[in-house]
Symmetry: C2
Subunit: 418 residues, 2 copies
């Protein structure tokens, strides 16, 4: 049987008629090489933002079910237009909505999770030698309603379709060459990674590398779908995201990532009774607020009241403060948006202690104060002042020797600012 | 059981956020009066035109299946936004795509016909006291593809849904007060008709009165759905379109209509052999060209070659000429776009001969030359020079005494220019 490829094109890759034709040419080229091709498309450029603006004009709190009905139209437009372009190139193509493609989700509108992909209709079209275009970011719920998968959900659609079809690869086309070991805008000699493990990619995504949606990486790991993250502007190979066994080397440190879109919340005077922290984070979870790092100062013999700090995405800050103020049991609830997070990630850390110590030393040498620290077996994250993030990233990248080697510097993998 | 109302709002009635809220207020008001309410919405203002432009940017001949996938998004956007607005007014609402609403069509993309309405999901929502918003103009084919019903198809959606629900009335909201017995822009004392029969309305629509889509009237007649054609800007009663038995009076002449969007094609030197006209009109039908009036001059003993004239919508003229030139058997194919059509319609004509004679006399007195004539039991149409259309309409309206009576002139039904 011939190779099966799922290709995913994001909003910038289908932003106008010309780019849709470019994407169509790539899709057709893959098909002409003999592959069975499914392409998952996002909405064009600013379409989703415009639809959100139209909804906000109508209502302060648009109904989530209706928001999904509204937003799901953008990807359908991209797919229909791409199908037209492919027809003009002499190939058969068929566009499918999430529902038609069999993307079955739960009923959590605006952030639904895929529960199953019933890919019969895709298979049927592939067997008729058609190119299949699937509207990303959406599905149909068990209640037969249109659902969407949340920001960046098209990546998850692509991976889920690839898993259902047992595709050979899921290619994610973006406006960058691949995954870099630091942001090339901050570190000019950042290196593109030819290969990275799912686990490392998960930690990188969670700590600021925006190239792939977190959930799509989880899905790919759980279903063993190899991801090829590559540029839509040229044909060069990008970054392969594969299982740890398939990666060639386990670098001590693979990448330095950073995030500046978080905020820190500090709760002073947390009552000293069991279960109070559980109560706080249950309420935050109910309000759908993603808490990242948590830091608690235990009360010392009643002299100091307990203090609790945590970080949230900056967009969730207002919601978090509202939730905490509603509990109304604390001395004070404070927030700080002038924070940033810098992280060092590497599967090799598991077997090499001392990385954390080196991170702290390097940052200390730069005079950078560590406000919060959080670790996993393959990651160390530090919350620092927002304005020191570039210095921290540069220093860590340098200290762990992650820059482009001289022999690579003129090769294909030169960093390109996104 | 409480009253069931289907309300249809066209593109201008949902053109922006403010108008969507206005439509939502009307819908909510009807629901608060105790009715079960289904609203069928068109795409906002110029949305459909913009989507068509996007398709044309991609392809000269966009694939019809993909065109339907593309165009069907516009109505979904309107419905989702209206549902949000209704929620903000404290009522429950649910938007449904054509497919979700059970609008089953044949597979003729871009001009599909409704074969069945499976309204279970609408019924279900109505039984839960929800307002149901149905995306107009679209359905799902027996092949499970998204289809559209052609220009103005939302009227047909509304009537079909009303028929399936056995609704008490299908209200069509437009930017005019109702159906007038002539175009008020030409005849200032044109009268709004409080009631008109399906048959008359069909003839009026076919001969230029643009207020309702032809197919929706046919559907309403076949299923006995009363239509109330009314303004979205005020609460006054408009025009009821009902079965002939329900109309109160059978006026000799009900209305004078006109059309200036047609063109005349003349074929000179048609070969004198049987079946040649059949061949011509078969080829035109295959090219999807709607021929209206046909006039043939029989050849007289071979002295004059036969001549064939017919009218087509002006948009179809290029297609008609291409089709005829491809046959390549004629002396000449000529066209004239400077024509207009004026028609006199009235169910009373059936039993009163002499209307045609009066029409010809009135036009003759105005010095207006009749290029072609076509009649039905309740209609007389004449093709005349385009620049004489206003004179013809005014003279016929006057001659058949259709102006506003003095006692009505200050009433509610004053003509309002659209």
């Amino acid at each position: 049987m011939s190779e099966t490829i799922v290709m995913k094109f994001g909003g910038t890759s289908v932003a106008d008629g010309e780019r849709i034709k470019n994407a169509a040419r790539r899709i057709v080229a893959a098909h002409e090489k003999g592959a069975r091709v499914v392409a998952v498309l996002s909405a064009q450029g600013k379409t989703t933002d415009q639809l959100v603006a139209a909804a906000n004009e109508i209502s302060d709190r648009p109904d989530p079910r209706e928001m999904d009905m509204l937003l799901s139209t953008g990807e359908r437009i991209s797919c229909a237009l791409a199908a037209m372009a492919i027809h003009d190139m002499g190939q058969q193509a068929i566009s499918l909505t999430g529902s038609q493609a069999g993307i079955l989700t739960d009923t959590s509108h605006t952030k639904a999770r895929i529960v199953e992909v019933r890919a019969d209709r895709i298979e049927e079209a592939l067997n008729e030698d058609k190119i299949v275009l699937v509207a990303g970011f959406q599905g149909v719920s068990t209640n037969r309603d249109v659902t969407t998968l949340g920001r960046g959900g098209s990546d998850t659609t692509a991976v889920a379709v690839a898993a259902a079809l047992k595709a050979d690869v899921c290619e994610i086309y973006t406006d960058v060459d691949g995954v870099f070991n630091a942001d090339p805008r901050i570190v000019p000699n950042a290196r593109m990674l030819p290969m990275v493990s799912f686990e490392e990619m998960l930690e990188m995504s969670a700590s600021g590398a925006g190239v792939l949606q977190l959930r799509s990486i989880e899905y790919a790991r759980n279903h063993g779908v190899p991801i090829h993250c590559r540029s839509s502007f040229h044909d060069r190979t990008g970054t392969l995201v594969v299982s740890e066994e398939q990666t060639l080397e386990h670098a001590l440190v693979t990448a330095v990532t950073h995030a500046t879109d978080e905020a820190r919340v500090t709760v002073r005077g947390v009552p000293d009774r069991p279960g109070v922290a559980g109560e706080i984070f249950t309420k935050l979870a109910e309000a759908n607020i993603n808490v990242d790092m948590i830091l608690q100062n235990e009360p010392e013999g009643g002299e100091h009241p307990a203090e609790l700090s945590f970080t949230v995405p900056r967009d969730d800050l207002t919601g978090a403060l509202d939730t905490l103020n509603a509990i109304d049991e604390f001395d004070a609830v404070e927030s700080n948006t002038e924070i940033g997070k810098v992280s060092v990630i590497g599967a090799g850390m598991r077997s090499h202690p001392g990385v954390a110590a080196k991170v702290f030393t390097v940052l200390g040498e730069q005079g950078i104060n560590l406000e919060m620290i959080s670790t996993s077996p393959i990651k160390i994250s530090c919350v620092i002042a927002a304005d020191r993030v570039p210095d921290a990233v540069k220093a860590l990248h340098e200290a762990f020797d992650l820059g482009v080697a001289v022999e690579d510097a003129t090769g294909d993998f030169r960093p390109v600012a996104p």
